[in-house]
Symmetry: C2
Subunit: 589 residues, 2 copies
Amino acid sequence: MTYRSHHCGELRIADVGNKVKLSGWVQKSRDLGGLTFIDLRDRYGITQLVFNLDTDADLCRRARELGREYVITIEGTVCERSSKNPARATGDIEIIVKNFKVLNASKVPPFTIEDETDGGDELRMRYRYLDLRRSPVQQNIVFRSKLAIETRKYLDSVGFVEVETPFLIKSTPEGARDFVVPSRMNPGEFYALPQSPQTFKQLLMVSGLDRYFQIVKCFRDEDLRSDRQPEFTQIDCEMAFVDREEVLMTFEALTKHLFQSTLGIELPAFPRMDYSEALEQYGSDKPDLRFDIKIHPLNEIVKDKGFAVFDKVEYVGGICVPAVAEQWSNKDLKKLTEWVQRPQIGARGLVYSKFQEDGSVKSSVGKFFDDEAQRQWLNHFGGKKGDVILILAGEKDKTLKQLGELRLEMGRSLGLMKVGEFKPLWVVDFPLLEWDEDSNRFYAMHHPFTAPATEDIAKMESTDRTVLKNLRANAYDLVINGAEIGGGSIRIHDRSLQQRNFDLLGFSREEAEEQFGFLMGAFEYGAPPHGGIAFGFDRLCAVMNNQSSIRDFIAFPKNNTGRDLMIDAPARVSEEQLDELHLELKNLK
Amino acid sequence: MTYRSHHCGELRIADVGNKVKLSGWVQKSRDLGGLTFIDLRDRYGITQLVFNLDTDADLCRRARELGREYVITIEGTVCERSSKNPARATGDIEIIVKNFKVLNASKVPPFTIEDETDGGDELRMRYRYLDLRRSPVQQNIVFRSKLAIETRKYLDSVGFVEVETPFLIKSTPEGARDFVVPSRMNPGEFYALPQSPQTFKQLLMVSGLDRYFQIVKCFRDEDLRSDRQPEFTQIDCEMAFVDREEVLMTFEALTKHLFQSTLGIELPAFPRMDYSEALEQYGSDKPDLRFDIKIHPLNEIVKDKGFAVFDKVEYVGGICVPAVAEQWSNKDLKKLTEWVQRPQIGARGLVYSKFQEDGSVKSSVGKFFDDEAQRQWLNHFGGKKGDVILILAGEKDKTLKQLGELRLEMGRSLGLMKVGEFKPLWVVDFPLLEWDEDSNRFYAMHHPFTAPATEDIAKMESTDRTVLKNLRANAYDLVINGAEIGGGSIRIHDRSLQQRNFDLLGFSREEAEEQFGFLMGAFEYGAPPHGGIAFGFDRLCAVMNNQSSIRDFIAFPKNNTGRDLMIDAPARVSEEQLDELHLELKNLK
């Protein structure tokens, strides 16, 4: 052991008297009279080193020269500390250093390597290797590793085989944009990086692998929103000879295992909710169930009472916010009105009814609805004195979404989402197809390989757009705390049904054959019924740690323009490389 | 359970009398008088189904219609077989089928789905999903999964953290060609797919992750030789605060664990051999130690004896092949001479001395060396009557390689490499630099981040090419049965030493800064000493199963032109895609 006999989180009172060797980074240095204390840090913890000016003046003076983040290796003796530090695992001991060596010096870091740092986002991205020294970031990466190995151990224990599917595949214009990779050996041709291993995992089911999984990088060339990454990681799974129930139970068990083994949390059975119910009651296909405010429709109650705004719209609905009537001022309600009117939400206005503790009612529509009418609304919500009803009106789909956003804003601002509380939910019975007005065609709500609900298979032959819009898919999402953690479906395994689905999605026969002929061909050689799911692994890490950004769980993330600021990629390549690939740049500004 | 209560490898004599549900593929069907037997197959095994024409004529007639590879689900009762099949785990029982349903039909497969198939390579690649149904191929994929999870469990148990490094990185012209990925959001710029996570794992050491590993895809755009793939998998590892000894012991322990946990084989301690010794004695930097024929130099003994061929060359050396003198005819020796003269080997000729059992000596150089002289050679080799000495002469490096090839050919043709025997070996003390005559420059033997041996650091400042050629690297390879399984090194962690190494490799300061500035920058912020290794995971799978082709251990391999015959990739992409990427094709034939 050239560099250490122990790591910096290891020594305890029982080690007192032992000679040890440690290596690590200088976290902090303090000179107190004749003593110099250094906190030596590695991944495992911090150990206090002591240098005594009286005993070894030279050594102590050299120690005083050590800057932050210097890497040193020391030899010394473990001693009991006079003032113990119970907040630190090694807090009972310190090392009387006999000698040390500087393994590497360090310039002054561009930001402090502490739990709370003074470095901005861009600086920390540029020096990501230093940001990763900070305990919260490093712990995220260690958590991710633990979550991955627990996933693998569990799936292995229930018979899943991890199979690596290829990264250099074929571009398919359906869905998001592909990253493409020019092939030097096949001039003019390109590979694509997979957006998911979807078709390959289905082929593995055709090949009889029975239970497949993979923790795998996927790629999407999208305009990046704040919390998207061009490369992201999925836990990708598929099973043969299963119905929806078996898939849900298998991955509910996996999820429970992950929470139990990494956080020590026992999750109860996951409730299930129809897609339509999720939209009607929560204004979202991924309801956050940590608080129980629900959306109620009010059309029946408020229509034809002389208030034109309510009378002429498709939908009126609201939420009842408990116990805020006395607390909310008119200014607060004005602010909330402005909040729903922001373009990101897009509501025309906000109607409220405040039910004061003294029994009086204050409302923005008092002119049209008397107190009695409004108390009827309160009953409708099951509300009580002290509550406030917030009402939006407009086109149904849009208004439900706005109410869903308003509901979440209430959850956030009133502190209704408790840290450490987890509310998983299966959302089921999604529509199969989505009509897009702009392009005048159907898109697959999940993806083109999703099977319709068994009862709806016959309706696939319909040419009536309304019938087709109402087709249900045998698809499901796993939602935790309002975040979509996983999504999947039972797949089509019959060539003619797959062909029909491509027809509905507007693929010509030639396009379908060119892009997915290999899969439809495989269906002709004994494809078993199969289905699966894919978890967003980055998101799962973040949600399990009550964090909103996936970036903190990725060792080397990219910024919003897809750039790695540390290595400065992407970058120009040489003319020789382009020549070999038969490529020329064009139309660059 | 819609489709099965048990799988096809599960039922035993203890299950007799139980009603069960099975699903799977029709492997084989036989009609014997009034009975029809079907072998039903899934990943787990084969179960025999019985249909009785007397009992249920309709059902039996429908069963007789089932073709090979049809997917069916059946219900029936487990019965004891009258003629048991001890070769099959379910061979004690059969299922009397009560009813069944066809889940999917199958066309006649293009080749037989049996252990030995009639399908050629290309056909099997095109229908890889059917090839993967064959038990030997499927078992390879299952083995790979098991090897991966055992690797992860072991490394996790000794404190390694699996960290995902990015796939979209920066192109560096050093080494093999990169695959590049045009960036739509950064027009004119490209990402590169990693040839290995080398720089990222070093940055993780700078960040204090301490012990990193990853089982990860890597990419090289090479002209593919028979057993190379453009995408391949590494077990990539790095450790901080270690010397060579700790790295070797850590990964020797991993390798032992893998052999033990997947094959039940206990490997002894791995011997170590200098690179120079490997070349001198085995004519290879990856000696196959399964048989102990060694190369001996003969210059001292054969020179100045009047045989001009030996006198004028740099090197004369040979191997002693045991107990073949009586067995080898002149024709055999002529064939062997032709073998070494093939362009792939490139020897000018072959000298032999046969030591017959009757004490006589037959040689191709009897005119120049009398029996006594040749017996002296035999003593030199430690050989005995019945052996044959084979001698090559020429330029030293080339001749050693030729002798190495000849040695392996002897091992193969004489059956000296036993299936199931494993001879691991650490090859150490590689040269740091390789001189390339064509480009008149040094290349890194391992890679530019490899540290020189500590004793040789000072010599890095030399400008004497001979001194530089003799620099030793702190690098090591793990070799098993003549295959390079892993390679690694202690890395440079000092900015100035890294800069000096780039200088020696002919990088301008600007090139070094542009390509690796982020790494050299990181070395200035307290980089710890570190080192690591990368295992070729595909190769490891093949070697552990005594197979020579890695392709059989890859679920969806590419052919020699980098093409996936099943999905037909790479392929043309649309003009719109190229426009968005600011790319134009040029110079296509």
